[in-house]
Every structure is written in structure tokens, then in C-alpha cells.
């Protein structure tokens, strides 16, 4: 692996992602818009007699944990396009190693995630959330979540066309992650079977880890975050293995 090649490829990845206005919208603006819309809705809910609204702190944490789902779309689409356009074939002939590629696709997504979290938290400040130093812990806790979604995207990008990645990551995964995060459908009202499924998947745990980080319940971070880390590692290992296999079997 070469640090310089990883750097050059990472810069290229960032440019490819951020020069796409659709990516910019979904990466930066959409989480802030979602936060604004839900904060308005929950404010109304809070005024209804007997109704219990979600606090702006929990809502902020939930959106911050959800926003990196779009990284799966960015990384998957980019890899799939590179693969199908011969650009990757050109780079396979070059001194780039598989490790150079995987770091070059992944590290920029984590940088985008940092920016995404900061935008989300600062916007939350405008919508009534008390901005504090805890947001830094929130940013760090979101990183494994971002790694997991990036790995899922890369895995999809290794085996699917860019159109298929758009369907799987852009539609299916974003919807699943939103519904199963426990934000819009609280765990308490789910049936037993559905609740077990939700608890076996990483989306709910990602949300709970960030809620704990922002809410000052540090002891509750790791019991949820390790599940996200496990998914991130498994997905990344699978992405690396499939990428190397595809490269070898061309």
C-alpha cells in the first residue's frame, strides 16, 4: 500500500462525490431538511394532549445516525461506475493495489461523514438543540456507522451496476434504515418478532449509540455501538474480499 496513492485516489473520490449536485443535496442538505421537518412535526405533536413528542436532542441524534446511509449510495455508485466504464480496468493495470483502492474509496466517505455530522448538529442548534462539546463525541460515534454504510455501498458496487446500486442503496436501504431505526416507529409498539429483527440489525443500535453520546449516557454507547462495529467490520471484510476476487477473476 502507498500513502501517496491512497491520498491521490481519495482526493479524486472526494471530487467525484462532491461535484455531483444530487450527492451534495442528499449528503448535506437532506439531513438538515429532514431534521427541520421532523422538529416542526414533533413540536406540533408535543402540543397535543396526552401525546409524547421526541426531544430535539434525540431527534438530532437520530438524524445524525441516519444521514450516513447516503454514503452507501455515493460509494456504491462510484465504484459501480468505475467498474463498468473501464476506468477501474485502467487503474488495475497501474501500480494501485487492492488496499489502495479500498482506502481510497473509504477514507473520503468518513471525511464526508464528519462534514455531514457537523452540518446536522449545527443546523440542530438553529432548531432549538443546545449545542455543546458533546457533539464532538457524537461525531466520533457516527464514524463506525459511516464505515458500515460505506462498506455496504462498496459491496454493492463490486457486484451491481450503478443503476442497481441506486435501487438497493438509494431506495431500499435508505427506507429500511429510516423505518428500522426506531425513530418513526418506536420499538415499544412493535410486535415481539419485529422487535427481535430490529434488534438484530444495526440501524436501531446506531441511533441509540448516538442518542447516548449526545445525551451524556456514556455507559450506554458501547452496548449499542459494538453491534454497529461488528456489522461494519463484516461488511468491510466482505467488500475487500469481493473486490479482490473480482479483480483476480477478470
Amino acid at each position: 500500500m502507498s500513502a501517496r496513492r491512497v491520498w491521490l485516489f481519495s482526493v479524486r473520490t472526494v471530487k467525484e462525490v462532491l461535484r455531483d449536485s444530487v450527492n451534495l443535496f442528499f449528503g448535506m442538505a437532506f439531513p438538515a431538511l429532514l431534521l427541520w421537518a421532523l422538529s416542526v412535526i414533533y413540536r406540533q405533536v408535543g402540543q397535543m394532549p396526552g401525546a409524547r413528542a421526541m426531544s430535539i436532542g434525540d431527534l438530532t441524534a437520530s438524524i445524525a445516525a441516519y444521514a450516513p446511509v447516503f454514503l452507501s449510495l455515493f460509494s456504491g455508485m462510484l465504484l459501480a461506475k468505475d467498474r463498468t466504464s473501464s476506468f477501474l480496468a485502467r487503474l488495475f493495470v497501474s501500480p494501485m493495489t487492492s488496499a489502495d483502492f479500498m482506502f481510497g474509496y473509504t477514507v473520503p466517505m468518513l471525511v464526508v461523514s464528519l462534514a455531514q455530522s457537523l452540518v446536522t448538529f449545527l443546523c440542530a442548534g438553529l432548531f432549538g438543540w443546545h449545542v455543546s462539546a458533546r457533539l464532538l463525541l457524537g461525531v466520533v460515534v457516527v464514524l463506525p456507522v459511516a464505515l458500515m454504510y460505506t462498506a455496504i455501498g462498496l459491496l454493492c458496487g463490486c457486484v451491481m451496476s450503478d443503476r442497481a446500486v441506486g435501487g438497493v442503496c438509494g431506495a431500499m436501504l435508505t427506507t429500511l434504515a429510516f423505518i428500522l431505526s426506531g425513530v418513526t416507529v418506536p420499538l415499544a409498539i412493535m410486535g415481539e418478532t419485529f422487535r427481535r429483527i430490529v434488534q438484530a440489525l444495526p440501524f436501531y443500535h446506531a441511533t441509540q449509540a448516538v442518542v447516548a453520546a449526545l445525551g451524556g449516557a456514556d455507559g450506554r454507547i458501547w452496548p449499542h455501538l459494538w453491534i454497529v462495529c461488528l456489522y461494519a467490520l463484516v461488511c468491510m471484510a466482505a467488500a475487500v474480499a469481493v473486490f479482490a476476487w473480482r479483480r483476480r477473476e477478470r
Binding site: R4, R5, L8, F9, R12, K15, E16, R19, D20, K81, S85, S86, F87, A89, R90, L91, F92, V93, S94, P95, M96, T97, R248, R250
Partner: protein, 241 residues
């Protein structure tokens, strides 16, 4: 020293034999053309030599090193202009060139200078700051070839490089290719026989994965009694089809 030497190089996909015990030798600094109809095995040969596809059996030696054992060493010294345009769409022309130069180990200042030089050579100055996605097909093709040349490779693989170029751009590219002879070994595949007559030092004709004839353009004409390379090609490739 031979720049390229294949030894019984073979690639099978199930029952299909894409390249069958291929034995060719390319002298250093020369331009070697692979001719053949679609599906003859030209691109598969390039894919194996560039490390994109692993041979089923046999081996090939590039600059004396085995493609099976010394892939990393070889990759630093070769480059390719693939059959399809291979550029990063959201990067500018200059950024694409600097990226490839950097990946092959050129320091930043050298990569910038190399990009400037190649932009001049390929008449890309007017579009140097434009994103690849905004270029015409011909310009993108030119950029793709320039990305193959910017690293000053010891061996350059040109897989149908002039497809999609207009006649003026094609002639310009011929000039560039001719100027590289002597310092760069080139393996060219093409369907344009005029290109082969103008540029190639040696030609191999492939049919259904096998090399059926090798020689200079004149030797192939003599061998078949044909007056043009096209007639010689038809006689050699058509008869064996």
C-alpha cells in the same frame, strides 16, 4: 532484449479457447500490431499481458519479467489505452492526467509538468479545465490515450486507440505514436489496416485465438502474393476462418 515474449500463452473460458498457445516476440522500441477479426483474441491477449486477466496456461515475459510472478514490478513500467474510454468523469482533463501521473509515482511538480506537456501534444489546451463528462466523445478518447502516455511507459498497450477519432485526430495520434518508436515498445490492436501499414514494424494475424502469421507488412504481402495488406489479411485470416 525482447520487450514482450509470450510462451504458449493460453486463455480458456469454459469450452471457449480465447487465446491458444500464443507465441509472439516484440523487440524493444518497436511497434507490434495484432490484427484479427472481432473475437480473434487480440483484447484477451492485451488483458493477460497487462495483468487484467490471468492466463489459463503458459506465461509471458515483459522486459524479462514474468506476468505470473512479477506483476507489481511490471505494472510500474507499462500503461494502456483501453478499447473503451477510461477517464474519471467528474475530474477535469488536467486533473485526470495529474492523477494518473501521480499514481505511477511522479512527484507533484513533475506530474503537473507532464500534464502540461501531454495537453500540448494532444491539443487539449482549450479543454484542460473542463470536466471529462463535458467533453465530446472524440476529445474524451484523446484524453484517455493521453492518460496512457503521460507516465512515459516502457511498454504501451494500445487497444484500438483510434476508434471514435476523426481523421485529423487520428493522423495527429499517428504522429505521436511514430515519435515514441525507439523509446517505447507498443502493442497495437486495430481494425484500420492503413494504421498498421503506416506504423507497425511487425504484424501478427490472429484467427480464433491462434496466431496464423507473423511478419512485416511486406513479408505478409509476399507470403500471400497480395498487393495490399488488406488482401494479405483476407487471404490469411479468411482462409483460416
Amino acid at each position: 532484449m525482447d520487450a514482450i515474449r509470450t510462451v504458449d500463452l493460453t486463455k480458456r473460458y469454459g469450452d471457449l479457447v480465447a487465446v491458444d498457445h500464443e507465441n509472439i516476440t516484440v523487440a524493444e522500441g518497436s511497434l507490434f500490431a495484432l490484427l484479427g477479426a472481432n473475437g480473434a483474441g487480440k483484447t484477451t491477449t492485451i488483458s493477460m499481458l497487462t495483468g487484467l486477466t490471468r492466463p489459463t496456461s503458459g506465461d509471458a515475459y515483459l522486459l524479462g519479467k514474468s506476468i505470473l510472478k512479477d506483476g507489481a514490478w511490471i505494472r510500474e513500467r507499462i500503461n494502456v489505452a483501453p478499447q473503451e474510454t477510461a477517464v474519471a468523469q467528474n475530474l477535469t482533463v488536467r486533473e485526470n492526467l495529474e492523477l494518473i501521473a501521480g499514481i505511477y509515482g511522479q512527484p507533484h511538480a513533475k506530474a503537473v509538468a507532464s500534464a502540461r506537456h501531454v495537453i500540448d501534444v494532444f491539443s487539449l489546451a482549450d479543454v484542460a479545465s473542463r470536466r471529462a463528462s463535458a467533453l465530446s466523445g472524440g476529445m474524451r478518447r484523446r484524453l484517455s490515450i493521453a492518460m496512457g502516455l503521460i507516465t512515459s511507459p516502457k511498454i504501451l498497450f494500445l487497444d484500438e486507440p483510434t476508434v471514435g477519432l476523426d481523421v485529423f485526430a487520428r493522423r495527429e495520434l499517428w504522429k505521436v505514436i511514430a515519435s515514441l518508436k525507439g523509446s517505447t515498445t507498443m502493442l497495437l490492436t486495430t481494425h484500420y489496416l492503413e494504421e498498421v501499414e503506416t506504423l507497425a514494424d511487425m504484424v501478427a494475424i490472429m484467427v480464433a485465438g491462434s496466431v496464423v502469421a507473423t511478419g512485416t507488412v511486406e513479408q505478409l504481402k509476399e507470403k500471400t502474393g497480395a498487393s495490399t495488406l488488406e488482401d494479405a489479411f483476407v487471404a490469411l485470416a479468411g482462409g483460416a476462418r
